[in-house]
Subunit: 260 residues, 2 copies
């Protein structure tokens, strides 16, 4: 099977032209098939504020009402996605940007209202990579914005980590997938005060223990849940690292270990 790298970057990387350019140079070093999945949270918050729309977060998750949905569609699929695409084209990397509605790539259903009404947030139901594979075959680099659709005309806001993980699982049927979560730290840290305390090999077993002991911080947990979920479902490798190390492969690597 051919190798495919799926790299997920947070919104912070795309916030300044400098950090975006630095990231894209590293991204461009990764050889072979690759897909970039991006967030865009902070830019959306800034634009929303300028438009007089209040950002409401519950446990780190954005509440997406109708006005906020318009903002995230504009910012994620518009501003952030096209800046990345134009930046990659400038490096002779033939990128093409998509939301989950394009090519019917990712169908989701609006999250049911339980204790919290998240609004127009989508939980993934179906990933359809037919045309994506065709484009990968032509050396196109898909750049995916964190939006899905319900198949009935409604766009939905969906977490970028979850999208990266879902794409990785779906494509692991035909590729050896290397899933990389790129954020500000060099990996998962055993001591949040010490940037060099990287846990290089993280088994599911130790993750559960770290989680219980509070070593792994709250913001990291959904990312690791997504990562281990990918490993459990056929993704070959999962790496958590920063922009400087996406091509070197240095960072925290997830393993199922002997628990499974």
């Amino acid at each position: 099977m051919d190798r495919l790298s799926i790299i997920k970057i947070g919104g912070k990387v795309v916030e300044t032209p400098e950090s975006l350019t630095a990231f894209l140079l590293e991204f461009n070093k990764i050889s072979g098939n690759k897909i970039l999945v991006h967030g865009g949270g902070r830019s959306a918050t800034n634009i929303a504020a300028k438009l007089g729309i209040e950002t409401k977060m519950v446990e780190g998750r954005r509440i997406t009402d109708e006005a906020m949905l318009d903002v995230v569609v504009m910012v994620y699929a518009g501003l952030v996605n096209k800046r990345i695409v134009a930046g990659l084209q400038a490096l002779d990397c033939n990128a093409a940007g998509f939301s989950g509605a394009d090519l019917d790539l990712i169908r989701a259903k609006k999250r049911p209202v339980q204790e919290i009404d998240y609004g127009f947030v989508g939980d993934i139901e179906e990933v359809n990579t037919k045309e994506l594979r065709l484009l990968l075959n032509e050396n196109i680099v898909p750049v995916i914005a964190p939006l899905t659709h319900n198949g009935q005309g409604l766009l939905l806001n969906t977490n970028a980590d979850t999208i990266a993980s879902a794409l990785a699982v779906e494509l692991s049927n035909i590729f050896n997938v290397n899933l990389i979560f790129c954020f500000e730290k060099k990996g998962v840290l055993s001591d949040p005060e010490n940037e060099e305390s990287i846990i290089f090999d993280l088994t599911y077993n130790s993750f559960l223990e770290y989680k219980q002991d509070g070593v792994v911080n709250a913001g990291m947990i959904p990312k690791l849940d997504n990562g281990f979920n990918a490993i459990k479902n056929g993704v070959k490798e999962v790496l958590i690292t920063n922009a400087e190390n996406i091509a070197t492969g240095r960072g925290t690597r997830l393993f199922m270990g002997d628990r499974f």
Copy 2:
């Protein structure tokens, strides 16, 4: 040669969910290969105003400074493009949205400053339809936002009529292209006060005469220039009509006539 319909719609059609839905139902009736090119002018003006960015127009053309460029990228490639794509997917039409940067589709150069500084506006230099043809072959319907790029990381604002015409010319090498400019009127009118005074057959010769006599109004002239340019360069048919008639083919049809 296979037939390909390229339909250009103005920003007004996408302004309300009702007019967009009505248009998409008509668009969905067109059989065979098709591409949709959209504008989005008025939505950009509204969003810019909310963001406190002033819209400057000179002779009907938007001056695109840096702040306005961000707005048009957000609105055209984000909000408008993705609403159309999600709307088409709801009709089981497998749409995919692109800007001119995606797939390196349309390269442009920033318009040189002469009497007027248009800002970040792009004049088309190169159209590259390789991957677009691949997607058409898979029954994908490309939806193109009126943005181009300069190949060096810069996105540029480009007139949607011009993009539709340039794509039509480029693709006329391998398709019998039918280019449709869809706007609010039923066609080019010989009497602007009478909505039914449609000029059904318009030759280049009569266009020049109408233009001289002031029969054809100013806003219509660039559209007709684009249309005749397409005909001169190999496009099979050019039709100017409203949303209700894109599938019926009723409206103003351009002909070179005996002048050429």
